[in-house]
Subunit: 496 residues, 2 copies
């Protein structure tokens, strides 16, 4: 390795660190906009985010970058992977003109703001022109990335969220799941109908009690609040940076489960960020391995661990002590019937594990059609309702419970939805591997201890950063690439 190749790599590390730090500033401004910003700040915030996006893009495409990337060499697993990721990020970035990047950021911010009101009023017409502009710019982005990478336009967007998985990989997985669901859903419903009806805990559930409980459970799952915050926002999310993670949830005094399980979900994301390798902070290889990998971490905490029989045995008495009322409602078997209830519903974020992939399959097909130009934004509500009816046999009564429910498209995120179901599948596979590798994992869950599980995840997933691609990460952690059979086995055991 020549001195100048090493020097070029050193310069690249400094350049990429600056870009990553701009991304951290953006992450904080996003959190602020969602959690605390007064409404009158929205326009200025859009300008701020657009300007930071534009600057990051300029740094990525600055003179000298291509020459350094061509010349640089780096030795070892980590540094070699880092350099490959730099080249990959650069290739995608140079495909996009600065004006398109800034216009997208601006259109996304404007659309997201209007969407918050449009959803509240179930008024798709209000947000439609903003969404049309977002889609128009996303099509332009997809076309530019497609030309640069040789991927299909929609695949080029997907790659921005999870490298190495395209529509051709997802389609058969989703088609197989659709077939599985058509058979499994009626059976699960039938089995459920034979069980006693779950008892609903009686509220009100004071928000302050919920907040304290959510914070305690998040800390119990391993989140250290010296490096994290828990706040409120309309759409729960995990933002911030690895040393300052910001998770949010929504509270209502009428119910506590959505907030609590939501916090456990976001805690899974937060633990991933906290566990990333500090030695590679601000470098591409130090980032999470993609959105499907990320979702696997939230779902393994929320769905696999927190809703498991052993953990519910710990949680039930704790909830009863916090909220009082009928003990029967907090019995572990009752919580299992409540929180593992299969129910065809309109809202993705409230969906059970079994029907959730149907929500994702719908969105995958629609967003692919939107990007492909086969579906106009004006026709989205009707296409949504048709597709939803075909998949789950129900027709949304309004757009708030239909195509307006998610922030994602209104924030410019196309190609992201498949990650949810790929993540759910990965979570089942990782849980199975962890149970084999970690003796006493379920016994620990029964004592409310998630450390054996999250410690294993830190070692096999979090601390790996982006050194491995998604499939190699799964292979290293579980001995095989993504295998949907572990997910359907999990569902079969839990629901059939």
């Amino acid at each position: 390795m020549s001195a100048s190749a090493t020097a070029a790599y050193g310069r690249l590390k400094a350049r990429f660190a600056r870009i990553a730090i701009l991304g951290e500033a953006q992450a904080m401004l996003h959190w602020d906009a969602a959690a605390v910003m007064p409404p009158g700040g929205a326009a200025a915030r859009g300008e701020q985010l657009a300007t930071l996006s534009g600057l990051a893009h300029e740094l990525m495409t600055a003179p000298g970058m291509a020459a350094d990337l061509a010349e640089a060499e780096a030795g070892g697993d980590w540094e070699g992977a880092n350099l490959a990721l730099m080249r990959h990020a650069h290739a995608r970035a140079v495909a996009l003109p600065t004006e398109l990047v800034e216009a997208s950021a601006r259109a996304n911010a404007a659309c997201e703001t209007v969407w918050r009101e449009a959803r509240a009023q179930s008024d798709f017409g209000r947000v439609a022109p903003y969404l049309a502009e977002v889609v128009r710019l996303q099509r332009g982005t997809a076309a530019a990335l497609s030309a640069a990478t040789g991927l299909a336009p929609y695949d080029a967007l997907m790659e921005g969220y999870q490298r190495g998985i395209g529509a051709a990989d997802v389609e058969p997985i989703f088609a197989a799941y659709e077939a599985f669901l058509a058979e499994a859903l009626p059976r699960a419903e039938e089995r459920q109908a034979r069980q006693p009806a779950p008892v609903l805990p009686q509220g009100p559930f004071p928000v302050a009690t919920q907040q304290a409980l959510c914070r305690e459970m998040s800390a119990r799952a391993g989140l250290d609040f010296e490096h994290a915050r828990l706040d409120e926002s309309l759409h729960p999310f995990c933002g911030g940076t690895p040393t300052d993670v910001r998770i949010t949830t929504r509270y209502t005094p009428e119910a506590f489960a959505q907030a609590l399980l939501g916090v456990l979900h976001e805690t899974g994301h937060a633990l991933y960020e906290r566990g990333l390798p500090p030695a590679y902070a601000h470098q591409p290889v130090g980032e999470a391995a993609g959105m499907a990998a990320h979702e696997s971490q939230s779902l393994i905490v929320e769905m696999q661990a927190s809703r498991s029989d052993p953990f519910l045995r710990f949680l039930g008495p704790k909830l009863h002590a916090a909220f009082g009322g009928e003990a029967a409602a907090y019995a572990p078997e009752n919580l299992a019937r409540l929180w593992r209830r299969v129910e065809r519903g309109f809202i993705r974020t409230e969906a059970d594990e079994l029907t959730y992939p149907a929500h994702v399959i719908l969105r995958f097909r629609l967003e692919r059609a939107l990007i492909g130009g086969d579906l106009a934004v004006a026709d989205l509500p009707a296409a949504w309702n048709d597709g939803f009816t075909r998949l789950l046999g129900l027709t949304p009564p309004d757009d708030a419970r239909g195509c307006l429910q998610d922030i994602h498209w209104h924030d410019g995120a196309f190609g992201y939805f498949p990650s949810y179901t790929l993540g759910a599948m990965a979570a089942a596979q990782l849980m199975r591997a962890a149970r084999i590798a970690v003796p006493g994992l379920d016994e620990a869950l029964a004592r409310g201890e998630l450390a054996p599980l999250t410690g294993w995840l830190r070692q096999h997933v979090h601390s790996q950063g982006s050194r491995l691609g998604f499939q190699d990460l799964m292979r290293a952690a579980t001995g095989k690439p993504l295998d949907p059979a572990d997910f359907t086995a999990h569902l079969t055991e839990r629901y059939l």
Copy 2:
């Protein structure tokens, strides 16, 4: 005016807007650090702020900027002033190497973080090495700016906070005030001793009640919470951006006056930001006219209006209704005796109007010596205590009540302190002019209405942006440049 001169000016406006927007992002990250950030985020935040500072500096000193500034022409008061301010900002920026700007931002952030603990423990030794590094970099900054502008090093730092006023202007004003105070302070104390002792309202004063009251009074003074937030931080401040102003205060259940009057103070700052000309948003001419001008706006709301006899007649019954207890404690005359009490004390932010300038005079002399190299950081505590004793006849019992009390130096702000007293003087002068120009101003205050005053300020100060220099702004608003006689007349009337 040639087409190319106009085009150059157009390019400059776009460049300066980007720089201003980066400044907005920094302002938000500063607010976050002070109001909500978990402690573990401090190191990353320092990197973020340093990177944004460095990028802003690079944009300011980018190729083509000097040529555009040389070529550009702009017609009219506002655009002409804008171009002059651009040239001024550029001249200061090119004097500073990027490495110095980034190192300063990093050192300031590190020092500020350590200072928060050092102050709590009154441990100057803990922060001293960090402060020494801050001072070292500030000396470098002052030397570079001095070489570029021809100003003395300390004056070059002062200019960064308030253009057009240097140590030579301030010195005679401060010397005259010192002489005035030596005579006035004993007389005021003597007069006060002859009056009945004030009755202290009895707490506790629930924090939630205080929060609601502070918010209501801030709104009454004209702040619209569609474009503003009120939060808590160790050191109250006004941050954010003109369409998203963030003010903070500190609450304690033992007392309410500090929080309430602090919020009114920060509201004065916030109204200035809210009232800046939107047509020149993100342009130098659209910014506030300087820190002395800014402080005049906080002090006219807090000191001149809110502590006036007519306003206390409105406020007294309102406070009694909120907190209950003895009515006598909330009688307007009693509040006047409490809140206009002259008392030699150690803490600047708790000082009365009469002795406050002594705190500023001390800091002005010390920071000038620190920057001039005539005082070492290690000798600061002793020099502070000597100077304080000479000015106010008291010796601080510890550094928490001495040289550790203020955030400013620990955050790299040298040359800022004189603005407080220049602002107090300007506030008295503006209040006198407003009383003459606006009929019924005191009658409105007695009804709790600040709109006649703040409306006049919006017209004569806020909406003027930086079109005029400080002295010209005072001249346009009051018919004369800064005249300390209005301040001493106000003090004489109120205290003697």
